[in-house]
Symmetry: none
Subunit: 202 residues, 4 copies
DNA sequence: TATGAATGAGGCTTCATTCAT
DNA sequence: CATGAATGAAGCCTCATTCAT
């Protein structure tokens, strides 16, 4: 009970630093997000940064984890209409994805672009777990049998295809293609892949 | 008559620098590829590097363009069996893609991963043009009518989905998923998308 | 009566801090011994550290003094056999020295190595006084006349020669020379110097 | 033949940096010798420092090696009178040592004090080799048989005793003991040890 | 032209010490 | 008194780029 104030103070600092990191990333990009800038952005000295995070990477990791949880929560809140057919479901997810990428001044966009240089192990775990859970729920509800054998391969393909195609679409400064069209196309592709025949060729 | 040698010398130097850049990238990654290293790798002074390239980015751009042309040439040489059905065609392309990503000690892999930080406008143009041309040829040969209206959208989706899913697959150090399975899955998804009904849902 | 507890508390804190300093030195070396670490090691806040010690150096000084007293006490307890000839006496002292250097996980070793960077004035006083006293006792017991004139010089030479040679020996990671041999050699040298003719050359 | 100017330039820079390091050490001590200061002292940018030395330690190493060679050269030039008896020889060496320690504004003093924190492997090799050679020459000239068995132990003891006793003497700001007396005492001790009976006790 | 020495801003991180609670 | 969060100067090192030769 006596530690509360301290913990709350700590928590506030940690949050401030994570938020500052996010802000720097949207403002200067991942490359331009330096420890001095983060500290300044948080209105704090560099020393404080290192009191709460062992490392610049630790900050990125914390930010990633926080965002992953935010996304997971938002996903959970997505209305999954009982009667939803696969097309609406996938379409909804993709629109949700585009919304995310367009939100927060491109924070997610920049993070996903730099995926391979960031400490993403934890984040990936969180999200993957969530998506697999969603898929399982869906299949259990709509089909007794679901392709458990290659579910992982399918999820991998679907997730990455969707994600990076969206990233690329949003990254195109000039609106060469309309987001609506890309969303629709992606949806069709995914639905066709997940819902249709699965045998090789034929 | 006296200019030839000079120009040839120039050409050789430019090539050496571009090759050195590629070598540095495979060896040290994009981040570890510094101008002094490139110069040393090319057996040339930094000064010379800046004589021929205004900028580090210019070098990357030149490398990208060169590789794009290499890839385009290789694509052209791909045997497209007259009788090829769509599945074999796409499957072949995907296998070609995996081969590329696994070739040259991961050079393409590293470059595509860092896509957004590199000057890729020209490269994208070259490759996109090529793919569109391929698609047009295919459709002209096999279908009188081809969906010219949303061909660009489809190519965009297919290209990016395939490319980044492959990159992610090859990036996974631990072989969680077998490349064969991913290739097969991707192929099925693409074929289903390109070859099947195209109307929105229904 | 109300002050007692406070003073006892103070004493305990001071001791804890000094012990923590010693522990940090053995664990991280003199360079790695930071005030935050000491405080943490002592289970105390940095602030408290500065309540009791004006300065990091003050802590080192206190540690030095404490250890000097420990050593002095241990020296006093050394059995000085009545019949001891000089060789046994010196040999015993040197073995005692090696034991010290090898004890406490190298605490003394590390401190003596860093002699010149630490506040050692007081320590030197304590030890020097002790050694001179020992010497005086010995000479009084065994020789009526003792070279009071250059006793200080001799003690200085003997003490430093022995000490730093031992330190260097113990510092050698690879056991190039056997400690036994060095101890024997040192003993011979010292005995020869203290016991033999003292005139210049001859 | 065309590389000369460059090499000379390099050589000059390297020398300037090493000299600057020496100067910083005498002026600010080993702890106060920072890379920015060294660079400034040499009238050069930090970057240049790192063009010639991979590391701060590399600089210290180079300085050490240079000084070791200087000392070795000076030792070689020492007049070793044919007729020298051991006392004069050792006395000369010790006086030479004191001269060194008092020279160059205490550069050697500070370096030897910080022996254990500096990269001294090479230096030790150079000097040890030199001293062993000297010893061999002496013994060969003066005694057919020389105690080859424990020569290493003896040299180790003599060298360290002498060196660190001298260092401690010169370090004493207040001239508690006269250097002359310490030199004489050391000489006597060494001569007694090296020249006299060597059997254990007796 | 070719060279490569030189630059210096700027990145990451540490730690002795203070001060508001 | 005790606390420990906060500070910020300072250390080490990198690298894109320039410029005198």
């Amino acid at each position: 009970m006596r530690k509360q104030p301290r913990q709350r103070r700590s928590r506030r600092m940690v949050d401030a630093l994570i938020d500052a990191t996010a802000q720097c990333i949207t403002q200067y990009g991942v490359d331009g997000t330096t420890t001095p800038r983060i500290a300044e952005c948080a209105g704090v000295s560099v020393g404080s940064l290192y009191q709460y995070f062992s490392d610049k990477d630790a900050l990125f990791e914390a930010l990633g984890e926080k965002l992953a949880h935010d996304v997971a929560r938002a996903l959970k809140r997505l209305p999954l209409p009982e009667s939803a057919n696969l097309h609406d479901l996938v379409g909804g997810a993709i629109r949700f994805g585009f919304d995310m990428l367009n939100s927060r001044e491109g924070l997610f966009l920049e993070l996903i672009r730099n995926w391979h240089r960031l400490p993403t192990a934890r984040v990936a775990d969180v999200l993957q777990g969530h998506f697999l859970e969603l898929a399982r729920l869906y299949f259990i509800k709509h089909h007794q049998k679901y392709p458990i054998e290659d579910l992982q391969v399918r999820m991998f393909i679907v997730a990455n295809s969707t994600l990076f195609t969206m990233v690329r679409q949003v990254s195109q400064d000039e609106g060469l293609l309309r987001q609506e069209d890309v969303a629709e196309g992606l949806t069709n592709m995914i639905v066709g892949y997940l819902g249709g025949e699965t045998g090789p060729s034929r």
